[in-house]
């Protein structure tokens, strides 16, 4: 990167070309970062014009918005406000990526601390019914600085291990905040406190469904992909079919699973002893499995096609058997592409499992749908937030694994 330019960052084009001016365009005297300008504008609007939190007399009633200044004790409001404004201004300027990362982290931590301080300030002692939830102002601030954070990490072009370390650090900070009880006054955490047992239960079944259906798709999809690679006919039939499966909307797919399964169980009652029914985990797992097949099969085919023809010729010419060639040469070379398919499937499944709750499949979607049914938005959040965190973690870990594999052989 262009860090060698020393201290002249503010006036010269030292940043990567993505934000640099178009070639030939005159350079501004003071360089303003375009994305930073958007972030700063969002942050200021969120801070000054939007409600920071919503205050509700109880969990069902709709709340009224409370601005940043009223939501916090004066000292916290002023101090916190200054930090956020300073961060917005720094985002505007062209500073180095590491500095940008620092600014974003500071703003995000400040935001986390501030929102935790609101319930103590707003809810009168002894009132167990009143609820405080983050509102549009908070979410927009979170969004703005999360974008700044993501932008800074992208510009740093971190290596895979660094990205995993960053993820671990972020999870650690969130874990510490949760453990400290700082957010316990927030409505979503009070929902958690009531549902703590079932929360981890649903979490386990969420992961089991997402990973289990992926594992099944790998067991079936890898051999299918290998067969498709060898037979153009099979590929011509199977891939279009899987493509069509992929286009079926998830809700329709879950619905489609219920009828045949119910009939099957009616015909073979012994199946119900294994927990197979028209609704519940079984149809959800089958639907997720079907969705997972296309990325696994297609990426296996593409990965095998990417193996250099000369490497295959050399492997045969040196006397490898078909099996040795497959396991020693073709599959290892195809592995990064296959893992890309696994990443797609895992992230997709973690999201899709949420909808499986509709047919009683369990998982965090249970809270989402119960929340929608009760118009209790905090309940939706209790299901959505961990789902997003899981998908995000899976994506970063698998991306890092893929990059590590690729890096060794460039």
């Amino acid at each position: 990167m262009s860090q060698a330019a020393g201290g002249s960052d503010l006036v010269t084009d030292t940043l990567p070309p993505r934000t640099a001016s178009r070639p030939g365009a005159p350079r501004p005297a003071v360089a303003i970062d375009r994305l930073g300008a958007l972030i700063a504008a969002l942050a200021l609007i969120a801070l000054l014009a939007l409600p920071f939190v919503a205050f509700k007399p109880n969990r069902i009633l709709s709340g009224k918005g409370v601005g940043f200044l009223e939501a916090l004790p004066l000292a916290a409001a002023l101090g916190g406000g200054l930090i956020i404004i300073a961060a917005a201004i720094l985002a505007l300027l062209r500073i180095r990526p590491w500095q940008r990362l620092g600014v974003a982290s500071a703003a995000l931590v400040a935001l986390a601390l501030l929102v935790g301080a609101v319930p103590v300030h707003l809810v009168p002692a002894g009132n167990a019914l009143a609820r405080v939830s983050p509102s549009s102002g908070f979410w927009l601030l979170l969004f703005a600085f999360a974008i700044l954070f993501a932008d800074a990490t992208a510009r740093l072009a971190l290596g895979p291990l660094q990205r995993v370390a960053m993820l671990a650090l972020a999870l650690l900070v969130i874990g510490l905040i949760l453990h400290s009880g700082l957010w316990d006054g927030l409505s979503v955490m009070r929902e958690y406190a009531i549902n703590a047992d079932s929360f981890w239960q649903e979490g386990r079944s969420h992961l089991a469904l997402a990973i289990g259906s992926l594992a099944a798709a790998l067991v079936v999809g890898l051999p299918l992909g290998i067969a498709c690679h060898r037979s153009a006919t099979l590929q011509g039939i199977l891939l279009p079919v899987l493509n069509i499966v992929q286009t079926i909307p998830s809700i329709a797919m879950y619905g489609l699973m219920m009828g045949p399964l119910a009939l099957l169980v009616a015909a073979l009652p012994v199946l119900s002893d294994f927990g197979i029914r028209g609704i519940g985990t079984a149809p959800a797992a089958i639907a997720l499995f079907l969705y997972s097949l296309l990325p696994v099969v297609a990426n296996t085919v593409v990965g095998l096609q990417s193996v250099p023809a000369q490497a295959v010729d050399a492997a045969r010419g040196m006397g490898m058997t078909d099996k040795q060639r497959l396991f020693k040469v073709e599959l290892p070379i195809a592995l990064p592409v296959i893992l890309t398919g696994v990443r797609i499937v895992l992230v997709q499944n973690i999201g899709l499992v949420t909808i499986a709750a509709l047919i009683g499949g369990g998982g965090f979607g249970t809270y989402v749908f119960r929340g929608i049914g009760q118009a209790a938005i905090d309940f939706v959040l209790l299901g959505a937030a961990p789902t997003v965190a899981l998908a995000f973690t899976a994506a970063i870990l698998l991306d890092a694994a893929i990059d590590l594999l690729k890096g060794r052989r460039a």
Binding site: Q310, A311, D313, A314, G317, G319, P332, I333
Partner: protein, 312 residues
């Protein structure tokens, strides 16, 4: 000895190889040369049964290869191809160890062999063993490809356009290295190329192929002096034929007693080089670098010119 006995190979109704017979002597270099689609690679690939002949037989030291299990046959024959075909996910050492591992050699023996080969190809084992193919230059990749083909000490080495991906300067060096290597190891090499220059330079014998048929199978001198009419004649009938002919002869062949002025020339230099020096010096004789105590020898311009023309 490899005996190719009336082999043909049909793809559908098209004959890629049409009734080809030739014998490759032990310890020699045979070059199959022809345009693309001439069937030269198909002949090569039938020797290690990457392609099965439609008819005919191939015998190695009298043994019909059709009776040897494919993998066993291939592990006993070195195989090097254009663009090296190295495995991108394996280190140089592991690439070289491919066939010894398949044969189940002990680890220590494999490691010794890898080191030995890297040294043979002038690549420092400490530096190169753990590198990956993409970290090497084209010439180094090609050398590793040949080292890998030689790893299990095969008696026969098959090479399909091994230098096709190299630039001209590196290619000339690679050709010299191959000649030196063959002399040192005494192995039998069958090499495929589309480059007649390369064939003349490397081959003890040259098989010229076109449209699946073997047009002429002879020594380079024979091909230059008495090309088969038609395709072969057109292939080598360019204006530089006398020079090609001279590059096949050695100075020592025409040495006669006597002395000459100027820097002497090595006895194993080609006549073409000797001619070039004579022309440049505007001289008509050139002394040979004489061994101690031997009478002085020289080579004359007229003797060289005599050698360059069409035979009477």
């Amino acid at each position: 000895m490899i005996e190719v006995d009336h082999i043909s190979r049909y793809f559908g109704t098209v004959a890629a190889v049409d009734d080809v017979s030739l014998e490759v002597e032990r310890g020699s270099i045979t070059v199959l040369v022809g345009t693309s689609g001439s069937g030269k690679s198909t002949v090569l690939r039938m020797i290690n049964r990457l392609i099965e002949p439609s008819s005919g037989a191939i015998r190695i030291d009298g043994r019909d290869t059709a009776g040897v299990p494919q993998e066993e046959l291939r592990r006993g024959i070195g195989y090097a191809i254009q663009g090296h075909g190295l495995f991108p996910h394996w280190s140089v050492a592991r690439n070289i160890a491919t066939v010894p591992s398949l044969l189940g050699w002990e680890k220590a023996r494999i490691a010794r062999r890898v080191t030995e080969l890297l040294e043979l190809f002038e690549l420092d084992p400490a530096l190169y063993a753990s590198k990956f193919p993409h970290q090497l230059s084209g010439g180094q990749q090609q050398r590793i490809g040949v080292a890998r083909a030689l790893a299990a000490e095969p008696a026969i080495l098959l090479m399909d356009e091994p230098f096709g991906a190299l630039d001209p300067i590196i290619r000339a060096k690679a050709q010299d290295d191959l000649l030196a290597l063959q002399k040192r190891l005494g192995i039998t090499i069958v090499l495929v190329t589309h480059d007649m220059e390369e064939a003349l330079r490397l081959g003890d014998k040259i098989a010229v192929m076109d449209s699946g048929r073997l047009l002429q199978y002879a020594s380079p001198q024979e091909i230059l002096l008495r090309p088969a009419p038609g395709f072969v004649e057109r292939l080598i009938g360019g204006p530089d034929r006398p020079l090609r002919l001279l590059s096949l002869g050695k100075v020592a062949d025409l040495a006669e007693p006597g002395s000459a002025a100027g820097e002497p020339i090595a006895a194993d230099a080609s006549l073409r080089d000797a001619l070039a020096i004579l022309l440049w010096r505007r001289a008509d004789s050139l002394s040979l670098a004489a061994a101690d105590g031997q009478p002085p020898e020289r080579v004359t311009l007229s003797a060289i010119l005599q050698q360059a023309g069409r035979p009477a």
